[in-house]
């Protein structure tokens, strides 16, 4: 399939000032258009996106960047690549780039569907009212090896690459201008840290809240989001953890079966296949327990095999550690979000300060899926613009 342009370009796109009023107005209009579309109720990601695009949120987000003494300028043409498995992901980095005044070409995978196609329709419907903004947010669709991509890359001032490690390596092989900057969001694996003794002691209300939040973080997209936890780290001694597990898993399992859309048969099959493969290929994997709708695998270390093999679908790896410090040396660059519950916040904070490899994000359980413009170690606002000094430097 050669390159297909999905959204109309009614005017020639030109760069604009950062945080320009018409760009902001476009965000709010997009938010309203998504909310107004009944399909946003079918797609959790669309509702979340519309929520993120609201005026209050965008204003809060950009406020820290609107200081007198700094001036943000666009980079120019920004090429965005979105992976096959992500539907509306492109909008977040696309919108931030649009706000910084850039012109954007966003490649959707040839397999994109669902909410991505709804968004294409909504953007198209806004083209008459916001021709300039829609033309700066151009959606295209093609295979990842299409010749047109190479031509776009050759003109790009920046490339925003979301995708698997293989896809990103392939895209980075395309030639680009010497000044072009790459923002890379590759394959990641996230963890949730639970304190065993706090879990045993939790009253019913706190316990139920934990189950709700854990469910939302980790089962919303069949546990496939990068920031959904694939590893549960239990902090405590063996006896405490065993008691905590005995309280947590059966309760979570029955909640998961009732509340969430159940995992599909194929997802169950995949989780079991991966779990069995881990028992064979990952020397740290010790036991497998089926706890419908989940599969639990006890591990003794964090390993590269887990990153490669655990694709979610209800497969939770469990690691026991007496304290957080023991986790630190096992962390790798690919370990992204740590969501946590039950620990002393000061202790968590101190630990996080000492983590030098891995972990880009620390959030309470329940917030793992919330988008933050600080992602994978990048500040998307800063990274998608050129920062300059606003006032003339004083002559001494």
């Amino acid at each position: 399939m050669s390159l297909q342009v999905l959204t109309p370009m009614l005017v020639q796109p030109t760069l604009t000032k950062a945080f320009a009023e018409p760009s902001l107005a476009f965000c709010y209009a997009l938010s309203e258009a998504i909310f107004a579309d009944p399909r946003s109720r079918q797609f959790a990601d669309l509702a979340a996106l519309a929520f993120w695009l609201r005026k209050a949120n965008i204003q809060r987000l950009i406020a820290p960047y609107q200081q007198d003494n700094l001036l943000y300028k666009p980079l120019g043409l920004v090429f965005h690549n979105t992976p096959a498995n992500v539907d509306s992901l492109f909008v977040y980095s696309g919108i931030l780039s649009l706000l910084m005044g850039n012109r954007n070409i966003i490649r959707l995978s040839s397999r994109a569907g669902g909410s991505a196609m709804v968004l294409v329709e909504i953007l198209t419907s806004l083209a008459d009212s916001y021709p300039e903004q829609v033309s700066r947010l151009q959606l295209v669709q093609c295979e990842h090896h299409a010749a047109e991509l190479s031509a776009i890359s050759a003109m790009a001032d920046a490339r925003v690459l979301w995708g698997s490690d293989v896809a990103i390596k392939a895209l980075r092989a395309f030639d680009c201008p010497a000044h072009c900057r790459d923002l890379v969001f590759n394959h990641k694996l996230s963890l949730v840290v639970l304190d065993a003794s706090a879990l045993i002691a939790a009253d019913e209300q706190d316990f139920v809240a934990l189950l709700d939040n854990f469910c939302r973080d980790n089962l919303t997209f069949a546990q496939q989001a990068c920031s959904s936890a694939k590893v549960v780290v239990w902090v405590g001694n063996q006896a405490q953890v065993l008691r905590a597990q005995q309280r947590f898993w059966p309760a979570f399992a029955s909640k998961a079966l009732i509340v969430r859309e159940p995992l599909t048969d194929a997802e169950h099959f995949d989780a079991l296949a991966r779990a069995q493969q881990l028992l064979i290929q990952d020397p740290s994997a010790k036991s497998l327990t089926i706890c419908e709708p989940m599969v639990r695998v006890a591990v003794e270390q964090l390993t590269a095999e887990q990153v490669k093999l655990n694709s979610g679908n209800g497969l939770f790896l469990e690691l026991i550690t007496p304290e957080l410090a023991q986790l630190t040396p096992m962390l790798r660059h690919c370990h992204q979000t740590v969501s946590w519950w039950g620990l002393d916040p000061q202790l968590v904070d101190d630990w996080f300060q000492g983590v030098l490899i891995g972990i880009d994000r620390l959030v309470p359980v329940g917030e793992a899926l919330m988008f933050d413009h600080l992602w994978d170690g990048h500040d998307l606002v800063l990274s998608l613009s050129r920062v300059t000094r606003n006032k003339l430097a004083k002559c001494s």
Binding site: A44, D45, A47, A48, L49, A50, F51, W52, N57, P83, A84, N85, V86, D87, S88, L89, V91, Y92, W162, F185, K188, R216, T220, F221, A222, Q224, A225, C226, S227, P262, L263, T264, D265, A266, E267, H268, F269, D270, L272, A273, Q276, Q277, L279, I280, Q281, A285, S287, L288, I290, E292, P293, V297, S311, N313, G366, L369, M370, F371, W375, D376
Partner: protein, 360 residues
């Protein structure tokens, strides 16, 4: 175990079969546990209580997810004993690799012959292969299709290929075959989709008809592509009757991961377990045993695989168990139906950014 493999394929009722099969499968589990490190790790991890000496019931036997044969090289023999490597057709993703030593290869083809002789008789029949000749060229690495054709060729004589290498009909060859054997029993064999697409449809398109009234068509390979074209077993049989004049048609279910003890469709459209094999249905998610009539995922058991741990496999197919020992066709053993491949697990979203709109 030897006793089990020597029994006729469809004469043994559950009361006699169960203890024999149970003992054979328990012994195989023990054997693979000792000979295959990967299998041992799997058992230790998922079935730590398993003890073959306690003659576990068939439902308690460990099972290997079939996808592991695509991801790993699983074998219970030394590398120097590998006689033949079977590969699945692997239209999507990696193919499975199944390691056979010479004993396993011999046992597998002997069992296949024994089962097929039940349906075809002991005489070797003239055989029309509904495929093209180059499908069996590479002898070291058989494709599933090649292996299937090779395996069944033993049952025939005067082999004739119905297709040319470019997949067009070899009308001349088919005509000659039909002229010669119109009045005798003949065997036709092919893969379901190939039979439909390249033989039945092409003959219909060219308005050619042949008459093999004593022919028996054996076919296998899955219905997915035909289901996409809304062709079911009934349409298929109609098409075969119209174009080839063959009314006896038997589908069989089997997979490269468990060659030999195949499941053949009887006159009533049911797939039958031979004495050497069985099936269970499991509920996806809990992976507990399902009841009779309930749709679930198929677990295939076979007393044959000794060179690789494939005696108890969780297949990627959905199915339903219909009965035991009481099919109207009179054959003993469990009978069932296959309801297609599990749909591929969709990647539902890396969704780094999918929030819940929770900042209220």
């Amino acid at each position: 175990m030897t006793a089990l493999l020597d029994l006729p394929p469809y004469d043994v009722d559950a009361a006699h079969k169960t203890p024999l099969l149970q003992a054979a499968l328990g012994e195989l589990t023990q054997h693979h546990y000792q000979q295959c490190q990967a299998f041992k790790q799997l058992i230790n991890g998922q079935w730590p209580q398993f003890n073959a000496d306690n003659a576990p019931s068939i439902g308690d036997l460990p099972f290997v997810n079939v996808r592991l044969f695509k991801e790993l090289r699983l074998q219970s023999i030394g590398d120097d004993e590998v006689f033949k490597v079977l590969q699945s057709s692997g239209t999507t993703g990696k193919p499975s690799k199944i390691m056979l030593d010479s004993a396993a290869a011999a046992l597998q083809s002997r069992t296949l012959v024994k089962i097929m002789q039940h349906w075809l008789g002991k005489q070797r029949l003239p055989m029309l292969i509904l495929d093209h000749p180059s499908v069996i060229k590479d002898r070291r690495n058989f494709s599933a299709r090649g292996a299937g054709i090779q395996g069944l060729s033993f049952l025939g004589r005067n082999h004739c290929y119905a297709l040319k290498d470019d997949m067009s009909l070899d009308i001349e060859a088919i005509s000659e075959f039909c002229d010669k054997f119109a009045d005798t029993p003949v065997l036709l064999f092919g893969f379901t989709f190939m039979v439909w697409q390249f033989v039945v449809q092409q003959l219909a398109h060219q308005q050619q008809r042949f008459q093999l009234p004593q022919g028996i068509l054996i076919h296998s390979g899955g219905w997915k592509k035909l289901a996409d074209q809304a062709v079911d077993n009934f349409n298929f049989k109609q098409g075969v009757l119209t174009t080839l004049g063959v009314s006896r048609v038997h589908n069989f279910y089997g997979m490269v991961e468990q060659v030999g003890a195949i499941f053949v469709e009887c006159e009533h459209g049911h797939l039958h377990c031979p004495s050497y094999a069985d099936i269970l249905i499991r509920r996806p998610g809990s992976w507990q045993l399902a009841d009779k009539g309930e749709i679930g995922v198929l677990q295939l058991l076979s007393a044959l695989p000794r060179s690789y741990p494939g005696h108890s496999i969780l297949a990627e197919d959905r199915g339903r168990w219909l009965g035991d020992d009481d099919c109207p066709c009179g054959r003993m053993g469990r009978y069932f139906e296959v309801l297609g491949r599990l749909p591929k697990a969709e990647v539902r979203g890396c969704s780094d950014t999918f929030g819940q709109g929770g900042n209220l």
